[in-house]
Amino acid sequence: MNPSLLEARQLVVEIGGRCVVNQLDLAVAAGERVAILGRNGAGKSTLLSTLAGLRKPAGGAVLLDGEDCTLMPPRQAALRRAWLGQFQADPFGSTVLETALTGRHPHLGRWDWETTHDAELARGAIKAVGLDGMEQRQIHTLSGGERQRLAIATLLTQAAPLYLLDEPLSHLDLNHQMAVLELFAGAARDCGAGVIMVLHDPALAHRFCDRALLLYGDGRTECAAVDDILTAKTLSELYGYGLRQLQDGNHRCFIPE
């Protein structure tokens, strides 16, 4: 059997000495989509960056393709997973195309320049997020939502088999939220990509993910298929606010009481 794209073994994550994830075991296979839900400050982003190997775990290990990611050269890790951060700071100017092309970095040797093939991949990714025609725009002139979609295009250009997305829907309007989720659902379905994303809307998590991982913020975690775990009862406890579940065909919707 192939090793999972990502595996967390007895993973412990701490923020400033406070344990937010205690002994988490999680395996993500090709084509699988996992949502991470929890309150503000519950450690969702910290867990995600630990899973990406950008932060040392306080205990346990994260394996990418069966190899410990803390022992892996950064470039090897970049070929196995792509990570979308919450913030994009741009102190220097750059064009949309240049920014998307940075995703090719792990694929290029030290002396290589980006080829026309790389440029095609970047243009394809820019088109996929609906920014086509803006390739030469300066990133400072983009709106927040456009900047977010460009960050996603950079991720697509990186073409790693596993996507770790920290709030991929931030700054996006409704149609682009759906487009981005459809995009990653398609990548999972057609290319066998694994997707782990931090989401705030349990209804979207139910609709676009196979499993959900709930972080309670005190070290407790819970992971199960979305149909079983995304219920009014567990979510009310998770968010500490009463929620009511409405069903519309296969779609679930949760409204505050």
């Binding site: 990406a52 950008l54 950064p74 741009d90 102190p91 320049w113």
Partner: protein, 325 residues
């Protein structure tokens, strides 16, 4: 991203600029030398006016080019390291440390070699001081590095002011010229030229990684850059380049701040082009400024640092006001 051809064209035209600046530096001066004589001297014919060109003007122009190139390179690297377009090679206290060393050497009357030696030692001292203090518990944030550097620079400034105020009048002029940056004191031009070649050769292979670093630490790490190692290397490289330049010609201001900005405006922010282009542009600029410095009120010479600042301030203010829009 500039294409390879465009990068080549830009670098070729900057090379022409460098050659032109050397031509001017060799031709112009209080002692008139005809172009034919300059050419003859360069081709190895001895005698007459050729000596002025070979013994005085050429070494000074070479040293100026090397210092300008080193400063521009260090400035470009510091701007990426601190992810702050307003950083310059002196922001982290390197020139302050060198200044303290040089002022002390002048105060106790050491010869030129002693001044250079103590200046270099002071620069290294400041570099390790900032590095050690900012590194501290291992969290090496930009803010902490910047603050530590600025404070160390301020401390060095105070020491320099102290030494200036107790220095005898006879030494004051030399000390002030050193502080403003002056190529007349440059000795052999080989050490800075060698330093420039080595620094550029070390920086260029990491240019694409620097592009990513400029976009953010986590971002760069996620895309496969060994961020911590790269940042240490860049810090050391930029500091040593600055130290080499400051030791040669004192703290010449504004070249390291202005030149990367000008080049960035013209070519974009791809370090693969920006670093070599900054070296060529910075070197040429300093050669031109120094030619101006020794001719504008000849036979008296101005310290070149005064001219780069006089040119640099309005250019920088202009750039800043453009950026705000």
């Amino acid at each position: 991203m500039p294409s390879r051809q465009r990068a080549f064209l830009i670098l070729a035209s900057l090379c022409l600029l460098a050659v032109a600046s050397f031509g001017l530096a060799l031709l112009v001066g209080s002692f008139k030398v005809a172009p034919a004589e300059v050419l003859a001297a360069l081709l190895g014919q001895e005698g007459g006016a050729g000596d002025v060109v070979l013994q005085l003007r050429l070494p000074r122009a070479l040293a100026g080019f090397a210092c300008g190139g080193l400063l521009a390179l260090a400035g470009a690297l510091m701007q990426v390291l601190l992810r702050n377009p307003l950083a310059d090679p002196y922001v982290l206290g390197i020139s302050g440390g060198a200044g303290v060393g040089a002022m002390f050497a002048m105060l106790i009357g050491l010869p030129i070699l002693g001044i250079n030696g103590l200046a270099f030692a002071g620069a290294l001292g400041a570099m390790f001081l900032v590095f050690g203090l900012a590194h501290g518990d291992g969290s090496w944030t930009q803010t902490r590095l910047l603050l530590t550097g600025v404070i160390v620079a301020a401390g060095c400034g105070a020491l320099v002011a102290l030494m200036l105020s107790i220095a005898p009048d006879t030494k004051l002029r030399g000390m002030l010229f050193w502080l403003m940056g002056d190529l007349a004191q440059a000795g052999s031009s080989w050490p800075p030229l060698l330093a420039l070649a080595i620094a550029l050769a070390l920086a260029i292979p990491f240019a694409r990684e620097l592009n990513l670093l400029a976009r953010g630490l986590m971002q760069a790490q996620a895309l496969g850059v060994a961020v911590n190692r790269l940042r240490y290397a860049i810090y050391l490289l930029a500091s040593l380049a600055t130290a080499a330049s400051v030791t040669t010609a004192g703290s010449i201001g504004f070249v390291g701040l202005i030149v990367p900005h000008l080049v960035r405006l013209a070519t974009g922010n791809d370090q693969r082009l920006l670093l070599p282009a900054s070296v060529l542009a910075g070197g040429s600029l300093l050669v031109l400024a120094d030619t101006l410095a020794r001719t504008v009120i000849a036979p008296q010479q101005l310290p070149v640092g005064v001219l780069t600042a006089l040119i640099g301030v309005p250019v920088f203010l202009f750039l800043l006001s453009r950026q705000a829009k």
